[in-house]
């Protein structure tokens, strides 16, 4: 396949960025999207030009590092995949593809397509855990958990923290990300003890870091590569309400 790529280039966080046009040729449809960018980068290095910077690591859809906004959609045109799992067979020969970073105040651009998502770590640090320390815990089977709840907790905990939800949201809200963590623990007996403090602290941190409000358009769920359900947001809202009443 021969393709034209419109790629966002930005020297550093403060610089003004712009789109640049690149051509790639003879791309195999079995090639992954990031491998296509590897090929482009090799050709840039050949021409003694600077390669395009983008984040990636596992290349199998689990680390949450890759984060490209492709043709107006986070992680591109395929559903339930991350950018690294997207394959060129989803495009047509001759296509023009636009590639941008996630855009949100809370995720400043570092360089080209790389962004800073430390805000997510800070939200977790605010309370996204059960505060046990190592040792002195009960036997694992002394805490039976209803299988259905365990499955729902697992659904929520499948979040990879990529930030596609924020990128998809017109308000750049982090509700789905926060709700997934809050839900996971709200569903488990181990997590109930700190549930109230957790939800309050995480929500406060989210607001402080400049994420927008949720206006229930649910673009987050539609674009989430792991199909994290917006029902988690409803659960979090209930938790939040409860925490603030009592």
């Amino acid at each position: 396949m021969d393709l034209t790529l419109e790629i966002w280039r930005q020297e550093n966080p403060k610089a003004k960025g712009k789109f640049e046009t690149y051509k790639v040729q003879n791309i195999s449809p079995d090639c992954s999207f990031l491998e296509m960018l590897d090929i482009l980068n090799e050709s840039l290095i050949d021409k003694v030009q600077l390669p395009i910077n983008f984040d990636h690591d596992c290349r199998e859809g689990i680390c949450g590092m890759c984060s490209l906004y492709i043709n107006g959609r986070p992680h591109g045109p395929d559903n339930e995949v991350t950018t690294c799992q997207l394959h060129m067979r989803k495009f047509k020969d001759g296509d023009t593809i636009t590639i941008e970073p996630w855009r949100s105040k809370a995720f400043p651009i570092i360089k080209d397509l790389m962004i800073n998502r430390n805000a997510f770590d800070q939200i977790i640090q605010a309370g996204g855990y059960i505060s046990v320390t190592t040792g002195g815990v009960p036997d694992a089977n002394s805490i039976p958990i209803n299988r259905n709840d365990a499955e729902l907790a697992m659904d929520a905990s499948a979040c990879i923290g990529c930030g596609a939800c924020v990128s998809a949201c017109k308000n750049a809200s982090a509700m789905l990300f926060v709700a997934a963590k809050v839900s996971q623990f709200a569903l488990l007996p181990q997590g109930k003890i700190e549930a109230k403090d957790r939800v309050k602290a995480m929500v406060a941190k989210m607001d402080e870091l400049g994420f927008g409000n949720c206006s229930n358009t649910f673009a987050c769920e539609a674009e989430c590569p792991k199909k994290i359900s917006v029902s988690n947001i409803a659960r979090m809202n209930r938790e939040f309400l409860c925490a603030n009443i009592s």
């Binding site: 596992c58 290349r59 199998e60 394959h87 996204g128 694992a140 039976p144 905990s157």
Partner: protein, 646 residues
């Protein structure tokens, strides 16, 4: 004579760890905050160690390359984690897990370490459940188990096909808690480039902030390396793109011995290579072998027609299929250990029975399981893996058998450590896949997660105190000491040198070349001639690298090519050591298969008289032959036998 002291405690095997803990030196609570510990790596080993040490009151600094600790390579582990809980009541015990691990490792691991690992395995599960890790459960609400290769009991705990993710998120939560409390300070997007020694002891590191490009100096009373394995020496592997061996290699050059580098695990069930643009290989979890059956056609003609796309897998009748693992190993069948399964697949493909367009693939078939259990059950068990397969290969594995082939996956070798996980440098510890300790010549499935968390939650927090108790009078050192500045200048010099080669070829060009050499000559089947050739080729490649490499850009700010360049420089040197180690080991054991040494049936033939030792290499200077030290292995609780999975 050997310089190695493994510090294995005296006494009965089953009492060693308890005795050790009862008699070791501790640091009392008021002294802990006066001691700094550097932890490099936020995978299972690093995150669990840092969280535990922080909670105990030490001051911890933790480093990772990625933007968040949660993205460490451990996140990708799929299948599960072993523990000898014996919840299914199928006869498991600490001894049995210990025995299986030693046998699975082909009698090349240290008894005392492995016993301790089995002993703490149950506590790991307790800890993770307390953290809220959503392990799979049965309808009674209790924890569920599955089986993995090399075991006849079900002892693998799992969270769908995302066990590593869930365990890492548990550890990351614990780590985040300690960061919030101020006990741990996080340095993300920071890469350790060298170790600082003061009077022979590890006292700090030089790291590079990969966003600003700045080199930083950090002090610690002790340093823990938990930077993962070196599978990416082979270019194509199931490891994450940023997985690398540089921290391990730099400490080797500073005096830490490197043990058993030739023990590299080639995993039998990976998606086959499909093009030269490919950047990594994807694992299909071993758990699939619980329900999938591995086969190739019985007739070469059929295999050939499949390769030419004239026939499909489903056209081959049941009686025309060769379920070669079930045929060769009736007792363990499709659940033989990885090394055995990988070699058996290679043997069939080399003999002309392989499928796929390259002929380098075998089938992993779920038709029987779907018939027996229903599609729903299979989907519930492996849904995300099936989806992953379909996304990559564009074929539906519920309808057609998967195609798989072995790929480099895990490295049993690594930094030599004693029973306390201390390297041959005082004050320098090594945990997780980066060390060599527990898996001998072959690791069993679901045992790496167990080892990483055992090291981090339950071993290091004790053993490091035995060292630190002697350091309580040592005040925090200034990083303006000449030792720090000198090391920083060395690092700068290395980076400058890489930048100034200004040759014509990219880092990836060399990395791929190295990968080809390694896979061809230091892969699944090794020979004396092949290995000697590899050493020669790698030495040439090293020369080319340092004369024809091109790293665009400069040292300031983000420069991913420079990051890759430092790593590949180290991979090349480590590649040579892997080949040298494979060359000296004139036997076959576990993942190390020398074609000259096999039984008439084609099984690995060990030579216990001459090779029952850990081979630990000491660096002797640039382009000098390293020196091999031997740590003898003594088996007291186990009778050493030829591995038999028939």
């Amino acid at each position: 004579m050997t310089k190695l002291n493994s510090k294995i405690p005296k006494g009965n095997l089953a009492d060693k760890w308890t005795n050790y803990k009862s008699h070791q030196n501790l640091v009392n609570p008021p002294n802990k905050p006066k001691l700094d510990i550097i932890v490099v790596g936020t995978g299972l080993a690093g995150a669990s160690a840092a969280a535990s040490l922080g909670a105990m009151g030490f001051k911890v600094k933790i480093f990772c390359i990625s933007d968040s600790p949660r993205r460490a390579h451990s996140i990708a582990a799929q299948g599960g984690i072993n523990a000898s809980k014996n919840y299914p009541n199928d006869g498991d015990s600490v001894y049995r897990l210990f025995y299986d691990t030693i046998k699975g490792g082909d009698y090349r691991a240290r008894e005392a370490n492995v016993y301790r690992l089995a002993e703490v395995s149950g506590s790991i599960i307790d800890q993770c459940v307390a953290q809220g890790v959503p392990f799979a459960r049965d309808y009674s609400g209790l924890l569920d188990n599955r089986s993995f290769g090399g075991a006849q009991v079900s002892r693998t705990f799992y969270a769908r096909g995302q066990t590593g993710q869930q365990l890492l998120l548990g550890a990351y939560g614990a780590l985040s808690h300690q960061i919030k409390l101020g006990n741990v300070k996080l340095y993300n997007r920071s890469e350790m480039l060298d170790l600082v020694l003061v009077e022979g002891k590890a006292r700090g590191i030089i790291s590079r902030n990969v966003v600003t490009g700045e080199l930083e100096k950090h002090f610690g009373h002790a340093v823990v390396i938990a930077t993962g394995g070196y599978g990416n020496v082979y270019f194509l592997s199931t490891n994450a793109m940023n997985s690398n061996s540089s921290a391990a290699w730099q400490i080797y050059k500073k005096g830490a011995f490197f043990a058993n580098p030739s023990y590299v695990q080639i995993h039998p069930t990976c998606i086959p290579v499909h093009g030269d643009y490919q950047s990594k290989l994807t694992l299909m979890s071993e758990s699939l072998r619980n329900d999938g059956r591995i086969w190739v056609p019985k007739n070469k003609e059929d295999a050939e027609k499949i390769r030419k796309k004239q026939l499909k897998a489903n056209d081959i009748k049941e009686e025309e299929r060769d379920y070669f693992l079930e045929r060769r190993y009736p007792a363990f069948g499709n659940l033989v250990p990885r090394d055995v399964a990988s070699r058996a697949a290679k043997e069939r493909c080399d003999a002309g029975f392989g499928v796929g367009n390259t002929g380098l693939a075998v089938y992993l078939d779920f038709a029987a399981a779907i018939k027996r259990l229903g599609k729903d059950v299979i989907e519930e068990r492996y849904g995300n893996l099936f989806q992953m397969y379909e996304k990559i290969v564009d074929e539906n594995p519920y309808e057609n058998p998967m195609m798989i082939y072995p790929a480099v996956h895990y490295t049993m070798g690594g930094v030599w450590v004693d029973y306390e996980l201390q390297t041959t440098i005082e004050g320098l510890f090594c945990a997780g896949e980066a060390n060599f300790s527990d898996h001998g010549a072959n690791r069993l499935g679901a045992s790496a997660l167990m080892q990483g968390l055992s090291d981090g939650y339950f071993v290091l927090p004790y053993t490091i105190q035995n060292y630190l108790s002697k350091e309580i009078k040592v005040p925090r050192m200034s990083t303006d000491l000449p030792e720090f500045n000198k090391t920083l200048e060395e690092v700068k010099g290395r980076l400058n040198k890489l930048m100034s080669i200004s040759g014509n070829k990219s880092v990836d060009y060399f990395h791929k070349k190295l990968g080809h050499i390694m896979w061809e000559y230091v892969g699944m089947g090794r020979t004396k001639e092949g290995l000697s050739k590899a050493v020669e080729l790698i030495r040439e490649l090293k020369k080319d690298y340092w004369s024809d490499l091109r790293v665009p850009g400069d040292m300031n700010g983000v420069n991913t090519e420079l990051e890759k360049a430092t790593r590949v420089a180290d991979f090349i040197e480590l590649g040579e050591l892997i080949a040298l180690d494979a060359l000296q080991r004139n036997e076959s054991c576990g993942g190390h298969f020398r074609e000259e040494y096999q039984t008439p049936e084609g099984e690995a033939l060990r030579n216990d008289n001459d090779f029952m030792f850990v081979g630990a290499w000491e660096y002797k200077g640039e382009d000098q032959m390293p020196e091999l030290h031997k740590e003898p292995l003594n088996y007291e609780a186990i009778e050493v036998k030829q591995r038999d999975y028939k």
